[in-house]
Symmetry: C2
Subunit: 344 residues, 2 copies
């Protein structure tokens, strides 16, 4: 086998394919992009040559050579390891991949500065679009995106979205208000919120605000103002466990607790169980998210179910339509569901 024409070190280019097939680069290019104007005979020759030389297209060159926008979609997400976001990402990724786009994902750790840095990096890859998950973009970031001319889709909270950006998600204020109304309708006494903060930012601000407003409107916090406790840690089962311990030591007569998310609520449930506190007899508990743990709890969790995969898919669809210049609604709200469980 003295096949020394195949030099494996330098990768193959369209030129080699063209040579092998006895056509011009342009014709080979047309075949590979399924363009019209190539005869069936030529097409076959080229495809055969592609296989023979093990051609690997060079997207760097392709993206660079054309209008200078790639099939990359930049994505900024607070963290990869939180169910709420990772399932949205999963939805985005699958949909983009299925039509030949690639997400370029970076984590921001809930920090506007990190997000800004990441977006700067993302833009240098000339993406066709950028998606922002979570809701802590700085105006600096926003201006940078404006200048760059890429499509931008905000994903997650649609509460204070202004009209010049596309968005997919739901109104967190409304969800908080809804839960506040539900809880204040059924319970009275000391209301509380257990959340968590990252890098000095309080997470779930809008839900808390909605919750609080509902309590005010229902006159549920007139004698005892809302108690809040923010753990300076990522939301997690343990954060909920510890946060519950903390709020109960500061506000021993706490009667109702709304948590940042289901995982924290489950942590709270376990804390109460370990201390013999009855749910909802002694303390009523509500979460947020509809995370998977709630499917196996012996007492179903009262929570707001959020279609995370769907949000991701919708977001990707919106982005794809923007990129291909199809018509698409500016704002898209998904439906959420207040699940009336047995914990509140």
């Amino acid at each position: 086998m003295l096949d020394d024409t195949k030099k494996d070190n330098s990768s193959t280019s369209l030129e080699e394919v063209a040579k092998k097939a006895g056509v011009s680069k342009m014709t080979a290019s047309r075949v590979l992009r399924n363009k019209t104007g190539v005869s069936e005979k030529t097409r076959k020759k080229v495809l055969k040559a592609v296989k023979e030389v093990n051609y690997v297209p060079n997207r760097l060159a392709a993206a660079f050579g054309t209008g200078n926008t790639s099939t990359l979609v930049g994505i900024a997400v607070p963290t990869l390891s939180r169910d709420l976001f990772s399932q949205i990402l999963e939805g985005i990724e699958r949909r983009l991949q299925s039509v030949g786009y690639q997400p370029l994902i970076g984590t921001t750790n809930y920090c506007p500065n990190s997000e800004n840095d990441w977006i700067k990096t993302v833009l240098s890859w000339k993406p066709c679009g950028v998606m922002l998950l979570g809701n802590d973009s700085s105006t600096q970031t926003w201006e940078m995106l404006q200048r760059s001319n890429v499509s931008v889709v905000k994903v997650w909270d649609t509460h204070d979205i202004n009209d010049n950006s596309y968005s997919v998600g739901f109104d967190h204020y409304k969800i908080g208000y809804e839960m506040g109304s539900y809880l204040s309708n059924r319970y009275s006494g000391q209301f509380a919120f257990v959340g968590s903060s990252a890098e000095g930012h309080f997470l779930g601000k809008n839900r808390l605000r909605g919750y609080e407003q509902a309590l005010i409107d229902a006159k549920a916090t007139e004698t005892k103002p809302l108690a809040t406790y923010y753990l300076n840690d990522r939301p997690s089962f343990y954060a909920g466990y510890y946060g519950t311990e903390q709020i109960l030591s500061k506000y021993p007569d706490t009667r109702i607790i709304y948590y940042l998310d289901d995982n924290m609520a489950v942590g709270g449930i376990f804390y109460c169980k370990s201390k013999g506190i009855k749910i909802p007899g002694d303390i009523a508990i509500a979460g947020f998210g509809g995370l998977s743990i709630s499917s196996v709890l012996t007492t179903p969790l009262t929570t707001t179910k959020v279609p995370r995969l769907k949000i991701g898919q919708m977001a990707a669809t919106t982005m794809l339509k923007l990129v291909t210049e199809q018509e698409v609604a500016k704002h898209h709200e998904v439906e959420t569901e207040l699940v009336k469980g047995m914990t509140a």
Copy 2:
């Protein structure tokens, strides 16, 4: 403000920076890459110009122009929404980002064909390296990677890694064996394994094999062979719940259950609780992973704790050393810990 020199639609290039600063493109390029051979005076002029024209570097052009390898690192991962992987990804992402590399993440859904497709796409971006998470690469994928000449790091299971690839993780067979020994030492009766399969692939194969071998070596399965049940669904709390119901209906005298991961084990715990089955009195339960839920359980879970973030960081470090042609160990095993909880 008749500043019509700034045309925002077409993005700025090094050329404009150079013009603004009154130097050549090459000099501007040198400044931006912190190369030597530029006077302090010139450097300042250029940096000023960079700000003035709002220069956004074009990494497509840069990567294309040079040796044709980018700062992208291709990553194949079965899914984004499983704690075991997402925290590894988090570790990888953070480390890569901190030194100017970008992960290009794609999900394979545990399917070798999807992985192959994804790697094909990844290679067209001329990445400097590729990381494979999980352990289901096809030989086809492997050959493609070999041809392409990129650095490859396998992450997760180091059990049957051959010597011509780099790897970071631990030996799943060993972990299974260890747990099997532990359990067979303490319990006797019907042993079981509850796992799950995706796309026809049984997950956690090597752990199961190690577990089974340990039981054989301990003569624990002589009278009652190991019972296994695979749910045809992603591993989850609910899969564990349902899987437990199934295995108990098929093998009512099951006495010890080893689960694919902690989440499934927790599902099992909840099932047992709901049926009044005592743990470990009636059934002993062991998981895998050391996932966060175990931190709040009222009865601590017996499991193997895996340093997921560390695996990610190690994997990234290995990749970075490979890429920068520094010396690095071919295989890196992280330490795991068998946590003796109260469920087994």
